[in-house]
């Protein structure tokens, strides 16, 4: 949460503000150091020195943070570009596969249709040798089709 707040804070402030803060802090610290020898403003100088020090520290800290943000933003832009290319490659590969699959399924159906035509053509010859298949053969064939097990073991659960 702290990191998010800092990132958001840093992302919306111009980067020149932080070195300005640091520089201003140092300058104020020095001036306040000199001013502490001047009696009428001594009290203000004593208050200003720690404040200037804190401003300096914050300036340096956020300037460092802004640098990290800049590095992160560059890394993020590179990663987003890489991801976009990968997503495009994935979509292209998927489309190519879908086209290839549709083509293969069409070929399979076509070959099946070809065999069906041969069976229709030879129907009379085939049925001449076997007019009616045995009832057990019919039942066993359907068991195989349905994968329903043997008569002894019973149907598939």
């Amino acid at each position: 949460m702290f990191e998010l707040i800092v990132n958001h804070f840093l992302g919306n402030i111009p980067t020149w503000v932080f070195p300005f803060m640091a520089g201003g802090g140092v300058a104020t610290y020095i001036i306040a150091g000199i001013a502490s020898y001047i009696q009428p403003v001594r009290i203000y100088a004593l208050i200003a020195r720690p404040v200037a020090f804190i401003v300096f520290v914050l300036g340096v800290f956020f300037y460092g943070g802004a640098g990290v943000i800049a590095v992160q933003q560059q890394a993020l832009a590179e990663a987003q570009q890489k991801v976009a290319l990968a997503e495009q490659a994935a979509a292209d590969a998927t489309k190519q596969l879908a086209d290839n699959l549709a083509n293969q399924e069409h070929l399979v159906k076509g070959r099946g249709y070809g065999v069906q035509q041969i069976i229709i053509k030879d129907k009379a010859k085939i049925d001449a040798d076997c007019k009616r298949i045995n009832d057990d053969a019919w039942e066993d064939y359907n068991r195989a089709v349905k994968n329903s097990g043997s008569k002894i073991l019973g149907p598939k659960k």
Binding site: E3, V6, F53, V57, V60, F61, F62, G64, G65, V68, V71, Q72, A75, L76, E78, A79, Q80, K82, V83, A86, E87, A89, A90, A91, A93, T94, K95, L97, A98, N100, L101, A102, Q104, E105, V108, K109, R111, G112, V115, Q116, I119, I120, D122, K123, I126, D127, D129, C130, K131, R132, I133, W138, Y141, N142, V145, K146
Partner: protein, 89 residues
């Protein structure tokens, strides 16, 4: 000296995380691959000729070859996507 330690700690806290949290969307597989597998067709009670049995077997074999293509399609699709995904890491 004490101030230096405090300042160092503050400066370090700004360098906590430099990783870019970006992940690609996992692609959607082709629609054909997502269709449910059809059951094989048994012989109807009136289909008692050998030619009926051959025709039915031919239809079921065709169904098998379609499913085989889809199964290989899944493997192909997954391997391709995995290669692309690994290329990102």
């Amino acid at each position: 000296m004490k101030r230096l330690v405090v300042v160092s700690l503050f400066l370090l806290s700004a360098c906590a995380n430099t990783g870019a949290p970006v992940l690609p969307n996992w692609p959607v597989a082709p629609a054909d691959l997502q269709e449910p597998a059809a059951d094989l067709t048994p012989l109807a009670p009136e289909q008692r000729n050998l030619s009926d049995l051959l025709d039915n077997a031919n239809n079921n074999y065709t169904q098998y070859y379609i499913l085989k293509e889809r199964y290989e399609g899944w493997q192909n699709w997954y391997n391709t996507q995995q290669k692309i995904w690994k290329g990102l890491q």
